[in-house]
Symmetry: C2
Subunit: 334 residues, 2 copies
């Protein structure tokens, strides 16, 4: 019985690079360069808060990786305390938080950095060592997140049934791949369809890559093939991630998620969302949507798709109303 | 009054290459190589029926261009009559028709070739010269099509209102661009949004190119941005083409059309389709959908997107139920 339980569970040895894409080592933050996958697995060395902001802005990391970068950036910032501004750690932490908050608009960076500032303020009020407290709390928080993500991986694996054809969009940072690995170990046949996710092709480059790495059955489709897949009953479940959740259940996720949600409703296909519940923002319309630079759409692998001066419009995210969600799968699954 | 009428109308001098992408000249069929646009406007010289089948199969031409190639291929085939099989023109015409019918599954080639065979059979029954009759009828038919397409261009131009933001998908072979040109001449501001239309990028490469050439205001979006564009009320009309129509109004068009239709319904945005009405096929489910080779999806500009052996699934067309259509704009607009 115990043996079976272990077989069913994802353990940290199974972690794929995308499951935990940024790690501190020797005072340096190693951030997986997701734009180079699948050609190579390479890490960017980040040593300052400014560099951390840059890897986020350039989308070298995204989704869950951003949370890791934001939290670990405090370690990088605090490393400088002893050198320059030992006396005013609180003011320095606010500067770090502000820099990180401004990096990209759609993500709830301010919620994360606000939590860190709260710890620092509390430590200051209680006359504790701020750096020590913040370090301990961030590490504890990260450990908790890791455990809860692994719990969700196991939850997804139970949730997916024998013979399911699961459509996913963009990349959910390792959780689906680890769930697929569990299904594989249990000899439960599951098939995955991944959208390309233009223009960055996260679906093609990240999701297909990691699902293939764990030996899952994955097929790539263009972003415009969803209607066809659903009309022909080729997929029977949709699982997507979310970059930000609202109190009313609306959520932000990679552009393209909204139309998949509408189609799922039209074709009566259950639509599941991996969420990080939060009450800090009331409803979807309050989430600012990042409009990315048009050049990202008009180029492919660095080369312009079109000559001349055609304009492009590239909203980075969709805000999906909760009415389209069949079921949330929150990170705190237990 | 008359002057104003002339200004409002598209005339053949305005024709863009995509409006009439295949023409006979000196016994050779010149077919616009749509895969090279927008880098260059280049024509493939087609001299045999087999070569005509090949340009269709390789998608060097598509949509309306295919109709032109199929009809003109009879001229190429009949040119050989005097040389090899003068005695049995009817049997030879059937061979030509069969070769063309087999080129791609979704298009109603058999309807077109059947019409030609019918002319030939009638001529034979009436003891007329088959080659002469077929030649005269094909030329007359093409002339009629040209006039009716120009009529539809004028119809679209009237249909589009000042300030409209029109979403289109794939490429409707010149008609939208010519309508945009009329709007421009009338100083009626209209904005267009074109989807990329992966994997061939007809929207980016053909539609943006020809709309830009006529000086229209066009913006490219990824295929996954439609939900966002509609939710944010950025577009207020959808105009798409159709490759095949059914008696009940269902129609086949480039993959991606179905999901745009569903989204238009969800967001209450009128969805218009340029149709070629036909009663030969009863309803959408009876149309065979071409599944294209996965390599076309897994490559971009000839280069593999992904290393390894990820599978791709690329249905070439959507079959859209008529219930999603706000209004058909048939080719016989008068």
């Amino acid at each position: 019985m115990l043996k079976r339980k272990i077989n069913q569970s994802a353990v940290s040895g199974d972690e794929t690079p995308l499951f935990w894409p940024a790690k501190m080592k020797g005072g340096v933050l190693f951030v997986l360069d997701e734009t180079l996958i699948p050609d190579k697995v390479s890490y960017i060395k980040v040593t300052t808060v400014d560099e951390a902001v840059k890897v986020i802005q350039n989308m070298k990391t995204r989704a869950f990786g951003q949370l890791l970068v934001v939290l670990n950036a405090f370690f990088l910032g605090m490393d400088r305390f002893n050198k320059v501004s030992d006396k005013q750690p609180l003011a320095e932490l606010v500067k770090i938080a502000n820099a990180l908050n401004g990096s990209r608009p759609t993500f709830p960076f301010a919620e994360v950095t606000g939590m860190v500032l709260h710890w620092a303020q509390k430590a200051a009020a209680q006359d504790q060592d701020i750096k020590q407290t913040v370090t301990r709390n961030i590490n504890g928080y990260l450990q908790g997140i890791r455990t809860r993500r692994m719990d969700r991986v196991n939850c997804i694996a139970k949730f997916v049934k024998k013979g399911d054809c699961v459509l996913t969009h963009c990349n959910v940072s390792g959780e689906l791949a680890l769930a697929a690995l569990i299904c594989k170990k249990e000899k439960k046949p599951v098939r995955f369809f991944a959208t390309e996710t233009r223009p960055y092709l996260q679906g093609a480059k990240l999701t297909c890559w990691e699902l293939q790495k764990v030996g899952a059955d994955v097929t790539l489709v263009a972003d415009n093939a969803i209607g066809s897949l659903m009309a022909d009953q080729i997929v029977n479940k949709v699982i997507v991630g979310s970059d930000r959740s609202c109190a009313n259940g609306d959520f932000a996720n990679k552009i393209g998620t909204y139309q998949i949600a509408v189609l799922a409703k039209e074709f009566k296909i259950p639509f599941y969302v991996l969420t990080q519940p939060s009450n800090r923002i009331k409803k979807g319309v309050d989430i600012p949507v990042e409009i990315r630079e048009e050049g990202e759409l008009l180029r492919f692998n660095g080369k312009k798709i079109l000559p001349g001066k055609v304009r492009g419009f590239y909203p980075g995210f969709d805000i999906v109303p909760h009415k389209f969600v069949t079921k949330d799968i929150p990170i705190n699954v237990n």
